[in-house]
Symmetry: C2
């Protein structure tokens, strides 16, 4: 299955491109041309990410029971009230037929996708309207019952599942599109809409969502906003802080804050919605979102390139930015270890081989001829200057998906490699891979694999370390070293995943005490009883000085 | 002085373009071709906007004394302490030689650019460092002295000058660039850097500022951030909420909040800096800014087009967005009244005539051939479908500036037309001009001119009404009608200017009570004594229910 020919100049693969540009020298074409992965994809780009056991054949070996978070991490339950029969009856009245208490039904919502944390909630509520969310929270607030807001439960830092017996407040049934305006490109929808469904809806009308991520098939837009999700399109369309125009939020006491405007610009007072973007459900429950959507690009191309060093990866990025300009829509990188893992565990095949680094460069534009021209010029430059040793290009949607899956499914491949220690680091782009090499040297044989990949264009490294099983010894070798290293280089210890439950005690490495103190004051003001997603995002005073 | 020929196809003017595309029919070419304005420009694009009297010959007739804000608007001074000799001595120690008390020197900083509000501050402090700002505020906080933070004093809603005797805290001497990283495009600078100077600095390195506005020659980046300035590039590069990566802010009590990170992504806790963006100096004083800057486009083109109806203006916009895609960098409109005013008061000449509406469409891209091609296709389509009746195109920097000045200097022209009532409204783009027509019909002969222009692509209308002199009768005919109209169409009563002093009591038209209440709680938390820019942005409890 070869890659289709690009229109006007860009050939079906690297070899043809080389022929076209007619440059002497350079690396010989890969034998067999630029073949796309031959193995069938279990979860192609756009499909739901496998969640928990039973949803994926490959996940079968991971059926071990997950240890409860409380004992595992030594957390003490705060003095929230325990659920009573009277409470259950009240909730059944508020959301009739949508108060789930069956233990088996609850199980997958008590454990995170990585199977690293597990709560023991006895109740999940599935409201359909903002009014229901408001009534539920008002009741919880009055009765001092803790609440865990939950979207698609695809988070990677333990923010989306209960730590103890918090009531799970699911947005799963809040999945209505409220409006879409084709003139302005503004979509208004309930918080429980699945990202991929929204994108499909928009594509039919010539638009796309401004964000895209591997978990798109499961994640909810409300959860995306609550975690300020980054993803693959941030380089081009910017962060949710710019694209989210309005939010409707229910506060801890049940009051509804309506900031659901659909205006590109509004400078009337403080921008309250920003506080809820990235607050991980600790300040309020997002019930509806207004978001600015870009037009669907008429032409998309994807180049998958091999580089012989990280210095060449960096120069490939700066060259692509200079030469592709406004059509550059993604610039991702991964090291050869990542490729080995997706090949071994997911049976995907890498169309290139023999490079220590791989770069994915996507262009999205409004004119396929112009875009092919720009990409062609860039590739010729990258090849003749020796930045790129090998490469292939895809232009039709299916082949693009196939290539993207090599990058998007790394997270999944890692879960099959054993126990995973995940780090999501922002760094000055020049330092991005130093941390991986440093960690690899530091851990030596005690780690199974130390891999680095991520959003090169955004300075965002996903550092992952795998081992056969969980080990305190290994963890102590990694932490706080990884955080100290990041702080020393003025990076962020969480670029896009958030802090959730697992990273909150490390906030000090990226934020000064004055900022943390102010965050705690905001939390105390908006949620004085602390019922919303407790044990998450912010360290408590006693936890605040752990290092 | 004709417009230079565009490379590859786009001619020097409309006539040539029509010849090139060779379409029969359509509007005959303007006699004399597409001539650029012949009159010399007093303040060309990029020069400082004339500020107050004496800086501009044309401003001479406006030398009348401005009434003090307190009596004019019936505001009562809050019980802040009055400045004592002991205070003056203390400030002279904190910022030696930079505590201005001379009445004549202070005069221009007590009055706004529109000459609509005037305070009576007896002291302006000009700190050079964050530490000095911190010491000054700590002193003011302890002594209960009110403070008016001031950047370039170019605001249009009376937010940047004192209402009574607040101490003016000027950022004029905080004008150092701290760092610029060419790999990431991230600029870090002090708050008092002038926008245009920053842009010039960046252009030398192949980058530009992500915002641009008429006041660029005077306004400070700190003030831009404090008011969440929009401007001419927002359509392309997004709002400051996305491009500002970090801020350093001094809080009311003098404590320094260091959120001056230079990372594209950082999800460690709540994004505190967002609260200060657009807070108009009421929550803290911004002392330094970290901002993501786009690459300088290699090719810029500007088309100035005449349309026979607002419906055609709208269709021209949607067509340009569809056909120019990623290279569209601005889409502005103005009505013929605006053009009459810049011609009459500033002696600029309109290269087109006879159209009730004009549209400015700017493209910025990385390949001049491709861009000219896209623009050509768009113009042909716009012409043959009858959307556009007349037009001219500029491609070199000087001609582009000349055309841009027709749009950028409307604000200035208005100040020469008499007393100006200014409204900065966000609306669904389809409703944008209805308000102007409605207002024109409503006011009839009681207004001199009712004009509409603005950022079409952002749904942002600048509605301006002029009269020979100030009249309560006229004001009552405009307000609250204009705000009610805006609220009825779910618009915002301040798209980009902020609320400042003059619009704060109308916040209810765009924000629900719950949101205003929450804003007041944030203000009370961060500035419990209310010393920072008092009488601005938020209504006090008694002022809150004025309508």
């Amino acid at each position: 299955m070869g890659l289709a020919a690009l229109p006007r100049g860009l050939g079906g693969g690297w070899a043809r491109l080389r022929g076209l540009t007619g440059r002497p020298g350079g690396t010989p074409a890969r034998p067999g041309g630029a073949a796309a992965p031959a193995a069938p994809l279990l979860w192609p780009r756009g499909a739901a990410r496998p969640r928990g056991e039973g949803t994926s054949p490959a996940a079968a070996p991971r059926r071990r029971e997950v240890t409860l978070t409380g004992p595992r991490y030594g957390v003490r339950r705060r003095p929230f009230r325990a659920l009573s029969g009277r409470d259950l009856a009240a909730f059944e009245r508020l959301v009739p037929g949508r108060a789930v208490t069956d233990a088996e039904q609850l199980a997958p919502f008590n454990v995170d996708w990585l199977r690293s944390v597990r709560g023991c909630s006895k109740l999940m509520l599935k409201p359909q309207t903002t009014a229901e969310v408001s009534q539920v929270l008002r009741y919880c607030y009055e009765r001092n019952l803790a609440v865990n807001p939950q979207g698609g439960n695809t988070g990677l830092v333990g923010g989306s599942v209960p730590v103890f017996d918090e009531i799970i407040l699911s947005t799963a049934l809040m999945n209505k599109i409220i409006s879409f305006d084709k003139v302005s490109g503004i979509l208004v929808c309930q918080a429980g809409c699945i990202l991929e469904k929204l994108n499909e809806y928009l594509e039919d009308q010539g638009f796309i969502m401004p964000l895209d991520l591997g978990a798109k098939g499961s994640c909810h837009i409300g959860g995306n906003v609550a975690t300020n999700a980054g993803g693959l399109r941030l380089l081009r369309y910017g962060s949710l802080r710019g694209t989210v125009l309005g939010l409707e939020v229910v506060l801890a006491d049940g009051s509804v804050l309506d900031c659901l405007t659909s205006l590109r610009k509004d400078n009337t007072g403080y921008d309250l919605k920003q506080l809820f973007i990235g607050s991980e459900g600790t300040l309020g429950v997002i019930t509806a979102v207004s978001i600015l959507c870009p037009q669907k690009p008429k032409a998309v191309n994807l180049a998958f390139l091999g580089c012989q060093s990280f210095a060449k990866v960096l120069e490939t990025f700066t060259t692509s930015r200079a030469m592709l300009g406004e059509i550059l829509s993604a610039c991702e990188f991964m090291d050869e270890k990542c490729m080995e893992l997706v090949e071994r565990h997911l049976k995907l095949s890498n169309p290139l081989t023999g490079s220590p680094f791989y770069v994915l460069i996507e262009t999205s534009g409004s004119d396929s001829t112009h875009d092919a021209d720009k990409l062609n010029n860039f590739l010729e430059q990258a090849m003749t200057s020796g930045l790129v040793a090998d490469g292939t290009v895809a232009t039709d949607a299916k082949k693009i998906k196939t290539l993207w899956s090599l990058r998007e499914r790394i997270t999944e491949a890692l879960t099959h490699d054993g126990c995973v220690y995940k780090y999501d680091i922002s760094l000055p782009v020049g330092k991005l891979y130093d941390l991986v090499m440093d960690m690899r040297a530091r851990l030596g044989q005690s780690a199974k694999n130390v891999v680095g990949y991520g959003h090169l264009g955004d300075g965002n490294l996903h550092l992952n370390i795998t081992a056969e099983s969980y080990s305190h010894f290994l963890l102590d070798a990694i932490e706080p070293y990884v955080y100290e290293w990041t702080a020393r280089h003025k990076g962020s210890i969480s670029a896009e995943h958030g802090l959730g439950f697992k990273k909150k005690q490390y906030i000090h490495y990226s934020k000064p005490n004055e900022a943390i103190f102010l965050m705690q004051r905001f939390k105390a003001m908006l949620d004085p009883k602390g019922i919303l997603n407790p044990y998450k995002t912010l360290p408590t005073s006693s936890e605040g000085n752990m290092h």
